[in-house]
Amino acid sequence: MQDTEKQSVLTIKQLNHSVATANGSLDILKGINLEIKDGESVAIVGASGSGKSTLLGLMAGLDQHSDGSIVLYDKALEALDEEGRAILRGQHVGFIFQSFHLLPSLTALENVMLPNELKGERSAEQRARALLASVGLAQRLTHYPRQLSGGEQQRVAIARAFASAPKILFADEPTGNLDSKNGALVEDLLFELNEKEGTTLVVVTHDPELAKRCDRQIEIFDGELKES
C-alpha cells in the first residue's frame, strides 16, 4: 500500500534499443517496462554485455533510445534534445562511475564544487566542504585525483554526486574498481548519504552484496528484463 502512495519518478514503457554494427542492427534492449518510485533503491544486475550499462545510460538521458518511452520526473526523454536532457540532469540527476571520472585538473574540493558551479550557484564551496567532510576527506580538499587512492577518489565522486542534491542517483559499478575493504566503505557511504538525502538510487552492479542492500533487484538477461 505504501508503495502506491509514493510518486513514480521514472517510468519506462516498451523500451527497445538497438545499435548499428558492421553486420547490421544489433538489438541490445528488448521490450523493457519498468517503474521506479521516489526514494526507492534499485539494483540492476546481469552478465557482462547483457545491456545493464546501456539501460542506465538511457534512463539518465545520456543517450537516445531507439523506440519506446522513458519518463523521468514527468519529462519524456525522447521529446528532449541534448540541451533539454542536460538541463534535466543538472536539476535532478547525480552520477557515480566505476572509474570515478574525477577531473584530473581539479582538486577534490573543486571536483565536488563543479556541479553547482556549472549551475552558477554561489554556495558551491560551503556545501562541497561539508560533503567531503561527511565522506571523511576533510583533510584532502586540495589534493588532486592522482594524489588520492582509488577508494578516496570514489569517495570524492560520491560527494560530487550528492553535491547538487539530486533526486535520483545513478551508479555504474561503484565498487567495481575497488578492493573489498574500500568497496564496503564506499557502499556504506553511498547508502548512508542516500538515506540522509532521501535520494532515489539506481545501481548497476555485479556485486551480490551490494545488490542485496537495495530495495529491489532487477536482472537483465540478453536484453530483456527479469525482476527477482
Binding site: S53, L56, G57, E82, E83, A86, R89, G90, H101, L114
Partner: protein, 818 residues
Amino acid sequence: MFAWRLLLREFKTGDVLTLLIALVVSVATVTGIGLFVDRLQQSFEQQSANLLGADRSVRRDDPPPQEWLTLAQQNNLETAQTVSFSSMVFGGDGLQLAQLTAVSDNYPLRGEFLTDERQFGAGQATADAPQSGEVWLSSRLASLLNVELGSEVRVGEKTLDVTRYLVRDPGSATSAFSISPRAVMSAQDLEATGVIIPGARVRYAFLYAGEADQLEQFDEILQPRLAEGERIRTPVQRGERIGNTVNRAESFLLLAGTLAVVMSGVAMALASARYVKRHLTQFAVMKTLGATPKRLVSLMVFQVSLITLMGIVLGSVLGMLVQEFIASILGSLMTAGLPSPSLEKLWLGATTAIISVVAFCSPLLARLVQVPPLRVLQPNTDFKAGSASLFVFGLVGMYVLMVVYAGGWRLPSIMMVALAAVTALVFIVGWGLFKVSRSLSKQATTGWQVGLAALHRRLVSNLFQLLVFTLIIMLSLVLVGVQGNLIQDWQAQIPEDTPNHYLFNVQELQLAPITQYTKEQGITSSEWYPMVRGRVTHINGVAAETLFPERRNEPEIVERELNLTWADQIGEGSTLVEGDFSAEGVSIEREAAIEANVGLGDELEINVGGLSYTLPITSIREVNWQSMQPNFYLILPKTVLSDYQANYVSSVFLDERSAPGFYRFMADYPTVSMLNIGELLKQVQAIIAQLANALQIVLAFILGAGALVLVASVRATLDERLEEGALLRTLGATKRVVRQALLVEFGALGLFAGLVGAAGAELSLIGLQHFVFEMAVTLHPILWLVGPLSGWVIVTIIGVFASRAVLKVPPIRLLRSI
C-alpha cells in the same frame, strides 16, 4: 566567474599551457620575422634614399619656386637644394673642365658624403656639407690639376680652399652621365663665382625628406605644379640596380615567414589535438553533471578567447625580443644601423593568432562540445569526428594565413598546391607502404617485425604523424634550397672584376693608345662601342606626341635622347630573346620593348643628327644591367650610323693598385670622360652580403622552430607508444626487442617523411623559382639525400630519447602513470 576559475585550474596542470606555448611561439615567430623584415625594408629604403640624398628629388632647369619651399615647410618636410653645372676649375698647373655641385648647408637630407684626406683613399662618412669658402675635389680632379689639400683653386671669380677629397656624394649616382671629374662647394659661394649666367647649362635639384604620410601628401601637391618633363624621383626608382636583389630577398623572407606560419599552424593543431584527446571524457563528465551544450560552448569561447589574447600579448613581446636578437646578431655585419621596427606591424601577429585559433584549434575544440555524455559509461563510444572537415578547415586557414602574410596569392598558391600534392602522396604511398610492412611482419619475434607491425596497427595516427614530419621536413628543405639558389645567384651577379669605371667621349684616334695601356697593365676592359645620339620620334608611323599626349606615360625610349650604337655581335651581358640580331633593323632591349608596347616587326622612326630613319624591330635582347658592360636600349645597323661622327664608350675594372696609374695616364686625354661607379658597386655588394647574412639567420631560426614542432608531434603520440612498449615488456619482450621496435617504427617514419618531403620541396622550388623569384629553374639533387637522411636521423634520435623511458622504468610504474 566560473569559466575564469576553470581556466586557472587548467593552467596548473599544463595542458592549457601547451596550447598557449604553441600560440605564443606562433605569434612570436610571425611577429619576430615580420618586424625584422620591416626593419630590413626600411633600411633598404633608407639606403636607396642615401643614393638620392633625400626621400624625393625633382630636377629642373630653373631654381625651384619659393612656393615649393613654403609648401614643403607647411607639410613639415625638410628641404635642400643643389645646383649642378660644368665649369673650368683653375689651380696648380692649369685648368680642367669639372662637374661642380653647389649644395645648401643641410645637404644631404639622407645619407652622407664620403670624403678622405688622402688622394684615392677609401673615404669616411662625413656628416656636414662644405662650408662657405671650401671646395671638395674628387681625387681625379685634384690629380689632373695637380693640387693638394690646403691648395687654392678658382671657380669663375671665386677662390676656394681645397679641404677634402671627395670620394662620393650621395647624389652622385643621380647624374650617371655627368662624366667630368667632380667637385662640391657651398651654395653660398655660387653667386660670387659669377658662372651662373643666362643661357648657362645648369641643373637645379629640389630635394625633400620627411615622414611617409607627409611625403605622400606633398607629392600630390607638387605633382600638378611640375613643368613638362619634370618628375618626382623616389629612392625606389634610384635603387633600381639593387631593386631586383632586394625584392628577391624580401620574397625569401616572406616565404620564410609564411612557412613559419604554416609550421606554427601545425604545432597549434597538434597541441589542440592533444588537449582534446585528454579532455574528451572530462567534457562528457561535465555533460552528465548537467552542463548544457550551450553552457559548454560559452565556456569554450571564453577560455579560447582568453588564451588567444594571452598568446597575442606574450607572443608579441617575445617576438619583439626575437627580432631584436636577430638584429643584434646582424647589427655588427650591417654597414648602417637598422631603423627601429614599426609597431603597427604587430597586427600581423595578432591576426595570425586569431586565424590560427579559428582554423586549427576551434574545429578540434568543437569536438569537445560534441562529445556524447554516454562516453562516461562506454569510453569507446564513437562519435562523428568529421576529420575531412577538420582538414578542409585547416587547409583553408593555412591559405588565408599565407595570403595575409605574403600580401599576395602567388606564393601561397604555389605552396598550397605543393602541400596538397604532398598530403595526397603521404596518404596514398604511406597507406600502401604500411600495408606492405604488415605483410612483412606476420610474426612478432624480432624488434623489426614488431616495429613494422606497429606501423600498420596505428595506421591513421601514423599517417598523420607522417604528414606532420613530411610537411616540416619539406618546408625546411624548401627554405634551404631557395636560400642556396639566391646566394649562388647573387654571388654570380656581381663578380669581383665587374667593370667599375665607364669611359665616355673617346675619339676614334684615342682607342688604340688606351687599349694598349690597359692591355699592358692587365686592366680588364670591355669592348669599345661607338655611340651616336638619336631620338625615337614615331612608332609605326604615329608621332610620339600623338601617342602620348602631354607626354603622359611616355616610355623611356621616347622620353629622352638615347645613346645609339651599332655592333656586329650581341656583346657580353646581353642575350638574344627573339628575332635575328644580324638583320638590317633595330635590336631593342626587352624591358624597353615591353614598356613601349612594341615587338618584332614594329617600325621605329629615329632622328639622328637631323635625319630620320625608319627601321623595323628585328631582334629583342635581354640585357643584364648588373654586368656593368656598356649597354644600349637600341642597337642600329652599321649602315645607318657609320657616317656619323661617333664617340666611343667602354668600361674598365680598376683596383686600388691600378687606379692611380690609369688616372695619370688618362690625364693626357682630358677630353675623355670617366665615371667611377666603384663606390656604387661596393654599396650594392655590401647590401647583397647583408641580405645573405639576414637570410641565413632567419633560416636558422625557422629550422630551429621546425625541429621543435617535430619534437612536439612525436610527443603527441608518445603516450600510446610508451604504453605499448611497457605492455610488451610486461609480456616478456627483451629490452632489445622493444628498443628495436621503436627504432624501426620511428626510423621508417623519418626516412619516408624525408623522401616525400624532398619530393615536395623539389616541386615547390620549381614553382617558386619560376613564378616568385623569376630565376632559372634548377633541380636540387642534394635535397634528395639531405631530406631522407635528416628525417631518419632526427626522428630516430627523438625516438631513442622517447624509448629510454620505456627501457629504464619498471613496466608497472609506466602503465600506472599513463
